[in-house]
């Protein structure tokens, strides 16, 4: 009796059907994923100029402070040496002349 019931139940279970999908679900899912991707790309592009600037600044890595200071001093020194105000000095017509100290300075010059 119990065995018959089991058999009968198995037959009944095997008749359980799943209806066909109503729509072209695969296509719908693929289209929806494309739509969501486009939407998210649009949202990322909506930040405008400041968002772009921020992105650029975020990518800039500051150099080592000591290295930066050395570079600034070197650039400053070179610019200073070759700037027209200095070079047009009557007594200095070259970089060597500019950095050389005159030997003719006497005590009188400081008093």
């Amino acid at each position: 009796m119990v065995h018959d019931l089991d058999k009968e139940l198995d037959v009944l279970l095997s008749k359980r059907a799943v209806p066909e999908m109503r729509s072209n679900l695969e296509h719908r899912i693929i289209q929806e994923s494309l739509r969501q991707e486009a939407q998210s790309a649009k949202r990322q592009g909506e930040g405008g100029f400041f968002a772009g600037l921020k992105a650029v600044l975020d990518n800039i890595v500051l150099p080592q402070p000591a290295l930066a200071m050395m570079m600034v001093l070197m650039v400053g020194g070179v610019l200073g040496a070759y700037s027209p105000d200095v070079m047009q000095d009557d007594d200095a017509d070259s970089f060597e002349a500019y950095i050389m100290t005159s030997d003719e300075i006497g005590y009188g010059d400081f008093l």
Binding site: M1, D4, L5, D6, E8, L9, L12, L13, K15, R16, A17, V18, P19, M21, R22, S23, L25, E26, R28, I29, I30, E32, S33, L34, Q36, E37
Partner: protein
């Protein structure tokens, strides 16, 4: 970019690695390959066509938007893992709108086949079985669906449900026993006379 016909030769797990690199073609192949199967699984958990379709769509969208939830290194098969995603989605969905649908499913079937006695009887029989299955506790229902309908081995089903094989077998036994009780109580099993009355013949 790999042509679609070549992607079709890849395994699900290989495709998932590509999906994690935002490869939409790989995602499309996965969708095309498995939608029908997961729709059937969703429908068996929640027997409404439109909602079952929505459940599968939501599950795939989750996969596309957050592919990192798939962990390749855990060694699980993609289908085993995605069954869990779909069934959890279906269970959540069913909980949210429990008791709001009532006998709507039967109404839909009888509306469609009002003048066709034979088809209607078959639809009633299917509906009666469906109702009985839906009466089972969630985990028993899931065990029955995975082993009986999805054709998964006990080991695979146990993996999906995150239980041991023994526990799964016990769930399966209780599901069948529960189903027998419900159907016998309703007079739809083991009593030809009552059943004839139910089907109107």
């Amino acid at each position: 970019m790999v042509p679609t016909h070549k992607l079709e030769n890849l395994s699900d797990e290989e495709l998932m690695v590509r999906v994690q690199d935002a490869d939409h073609s790989a995602f499309s192949v996965l969708v095309t390959r498995h939608t029908r199967m997961f729709y059937a699984a969703a429908y068996r958990m929640y027997p409404y066509q439109d909602e079952a379709e929505d459940i599968v769509q939501e599950a795939f969208m989750k996969l596309w938007n957050r592919p990192e939830i798939w962990k390749a290194d855990k060694g699980a098969k993609f289908t085993t893992w995605f069954y869990r995603v779909v069934t959890n989605q279906a269970i959540d969905f069913a909980r949210k709108i429990k008791n709001t649908k009532g006998s709507e499913a039967l109404d839909r079937i009888t509306d469609k086949t009002a003048n066709q006695q034979e088809v209607m009887e078959q639809a009633q029989q299917e509906q009666m079985l469906e109702d009985a299955i839906q009466e089972l506790p969630e985990r028993q229902k899931l065990a029955l669906n995975l082993c009986f309908y999805e054709g998964l081995s006990n080991k695979e089903a146990a993996e999906i449900m995150e239980v041991g094989v023994k526990a799964l077998e016990s769930l399966l036994m209780r599901a069948k026993a529960g189903l027998k009780d419900i159907l016998v109580r309703q007079g739809n099993l083991g009593d030809e006379e009552k059943r004839g009355h139910y089907y109107g013949s």
